[in-house]
């Protein structure tokens, strides 16, 4: 591989993870491909999001990227080197660069260790800092994630979910990583706290030159943060596109369905049509051809027979669908808010001027 700083920090080559499948006397071995032949390139310094409904394999993919799971097939490359074949010992050194933030802040911190010890630990493993220097850095990190340095002496159970997630973030930062993978880092938090933690992650990303990989099912979070988004369905990536392009004009029928599931703040804009029918098929027995075809409104015979290869569009976009061009022609753009009636427009204008004149708009009313 080249010696120059590579543009791609993490790459996966047809990575597959199968679970289960011990065969017994009476049953043949059954296994689930949680992730099936996923190839991605993650660029240095970007925020890359992976989205999909629960059970689509996004958390498994996240763990594969940092070798918390070993791929059954394919390869994961970090800085051009295959890490899927490294031994646990060799991998330990690389963990300095690759850190992970967990979904559930209540089970991801060792209850028997103080916050200070938790944050200090990665430094003990990966750096040669002295005790005093480590303590100093713990205090700085706590400060940086918005917690009081005095909290170092307390135990995780004394904190709220949002605070614990900040502790988790401080711990992830402690070794000086290059990549942070967040497995639904805010989905277990209150909505009001989610925004704070997301903004914190964004600030830290630019401050520490991180590459951020986020797993999420909340499209609002993704739209707010990401540079590029990969949409997963049943262990495969169906569409990968820059953030704005994906949200403005989703190409894959599954992405379109996802977009239609975003609530629209206008009653006129809501369509009564259900976005998708049926459930996600069992990954034990995935559908033939395109895995989405049983639920796809555009499916044809071709879809059930042949798996669509990812087509590259406009250089930085891929979509795995036989009919994406046809679908794109038929107007399937996400529902726009219809124009307001003149009367409504007048009322909005009135409201705006009133609210500018007197600050508390509702409190003045009797």
């Amino acid at each position: 591989m080249s010696l120059t700083t590579r543009d791609k920090i993490i790459e996966t080559r047809a990575v597959t993870k199968r679970f289960g499948g011990r065969k017994s006397l009476f049953k043949p071995a059954t296994s689930v491909s949680a992730v099936n032949g996923v190839s991605l390139d993650i660029k240095r310094g970007e925020t890359f999001s992976i989205v999909g409904e629960s059970g689509c394999g996004k958390s498994t993919l996240a763990r594969l990227l940092v070798r918390l799971l070993t791929p059954s097939d394919g390869a994961v490359l970090y800085d051009g080197n295959d890490i899927s074949a490294l031994s646990e010992q060799e991998m330990r050194h690389l963990r300095k660069d690759l850190q992970f933030i967990f979904q559930d802040p209540f089970s991801s911190l060792n209850p028997r260790m103080s916050v200070g010890a938790l944050i200090e630990e990665p430094m003990k493993v990966h750096t040669t800092l002295s005790r005093a220097e480590r303590r100093q850095k713990v205090a700085e990190l706590l400060n940086r994630v918005g917690l009081r340095p005095a909290f170092a002496n307390r135990y995780p159970h004394e904190f709220s979910g949002g605070q614990r997630q900040r502790i988790g973030i401080a711990r992830a930062l402690a070794s000086g990583p290059k990549v942070i993978v967040g497995d639904e880092p805010v989905s277990a938090l209150d909505v009001s706290v989610q925004a704070q933690v997301i903004n914190l992650l964004e600030d830290l990303k630019s401050e520490f030159d991180l590459t951020l990989i986020l797993i999420a099912h909340d499209l609002a979070v993704i739209r707010h943060m990401s540079d590029r988004v990969a949409v997963m369905y049943l262990g495969e990536i169906v569409e990968l596109a820059p953030n704005d392009a994906l949200f403005d004009k989703p190409l894959h029928p599954y992405t379109q369905a996802l977009m239609r599931a975003i609530p629209i703040a206008s009653p006129h804009g809501r369509s009564m049509k259900a976005a998708l029918s049926g459930d996600v098929p069992s990954p034990l027995d995935p559908p033939s051809g395109c895995r989405f075809h049983p639920r796809c409104p555009h499916a044809t015979d071709l879809c059930s027979q042949e798996k669509p290869a990812p087509a590259t569009i406009a250089g930085d976009r891929t979509v795995a669908c036989h009919h994406w061009e046809k679908i794109a022609d038929a107007d399937q753009s996400p529902v726009q808010e219809p124009p307001r009636s003149p009367n409504a427009e007048k009322r909005f204008a009135l409201f705006r001027t009133r609210s500018q004149q007197q600050e508390p708009t509702t409190a003045t009313r009797p």
Partner: protein, 292 residues
């Protein structure tokens, strides 16, 4: 934020956790009672050589099987030895047997349970099958068989009891490890790049330790009774040295003529076992940092 304060000493943290546990233990009346009983018996066992009591081995043919009196507070036994003195010296043997055999059981059982639960696979299969086999044998039968095999002495009795109690700790630890292993923080420890040894010692062991400690205090009680049983059969403490079990063993022959010979060791065993049980229950609650 004003001056950035540095984190406290880990030693200080430990003291903080311990003092919190101690406070909780003190607030728990029954645990405190258990602690006082255990402390009392340990106290007299340790102080036995300096207490102004009669020689536990000195016989007095003029005072055979005398009921409790001013001269012999707890009476005398069948060859005129002072029962109070023998009770106090016997506390040494009985408590030693309880504590040492449990230590043996914990020191062997916990590491095996940890390995078995943490690594799974063949390690687990091998350790679990041996444990199952040992658990299939009744505790006392196994202890008697081992003690008979090792030869009669207090040390061998302790080893026999320890080995017999060991599989309980293997199984308990393994089960606890299996549940703790699935916690996110263990995966988090791997994500940081810790070695297996570090994960086991810093993440898993502290989180499985509370139930092990409770089981240990409860097993101390069982072990004291087992030592009494072994001594009763002549496999434990050897005559003429006293232990509560061997005293009971002799007393059974004089139940009608000198019932006090059986009362005192019986009551002492009862009290110590009660004390360890109460203390164990209290420790379980006190050692959990999550409960306030």
């Amino acid at each position: 934020m004003s001056a950035v304060t540095t984190a406290a000493d880990p030693a200080e943290e430990t003291i903080r956790l311990e003092s919190r546990a101690w406070k909780k233990l003190k607030a728990n009346k029954s645990a405190l009672f258990g602690f006082i009983i255990v402390a009392f018996f340990i106290g007299i066992a340790v102080a036995a050589p300096v207490l102004p009591i009669a020689d536990p081995l000195a016989t007095d043919w003029g005072a055979v099987r005398k009921a409790p009196s001013a001269a012999h507070w707890l009476g005398t036994d069948e060859i005129g030895r002072d029962i109070l003195s023998r009770m106090i010296w016997g506390a040494q043997a009985s408590l030693m047997a309880g504590v040492v055999s449990v230590l043996i059981a914990v020191l062997i059982g916990v590491p095996f349970g940890l390995l078995s639960g943490y690594f799974g696979g063949w390690t687990d299969q091998a350790i679990s099958r041996v444990t199952d086999a040992l658990l299939a044998t009744p505790f006392l039968i196994l202890a008697i068989a081992l003690a008979a095999f090792l030869g009669p002495s207090l040390t061998n009795a302790m080893i026999a009891i320890g080995l017999s109690a060991m599989p309980i700790f293997v199984r308990l630890t393994r089960g606890q490890v299996l549940s703790v292993k699935t916690e996110d923080y263990v995966e988090g420890a791997r994500a940081i790049g810790l070695s297996h040894v570090a994960i086991m010692s810093r993440y898993i062991l502290p989180n499985v330790f509370a139930p092990v400690l409770v089981q240990a205090t409860l097993t101390v009680a069982t072990a004291i009774i087992a030592e009494a049983s072994l001594s009763f059969l002549g496999l434990g403490q050897q005559a003429p040295a006293p232990s509560w079990g061997s005293m009971l063993n002799v007393a059974k022959n004089f139940m009608t003529q000198a019932p006090w010979m059986a009362w005192w060791p019986g009551a002492a065993i009862f009290l110590v076992v009660l004390g360890f049980n109460l203390l164990g229950d209290g420790l379980r609650d006190a050692l959990d940092p999550r409960e306030s």
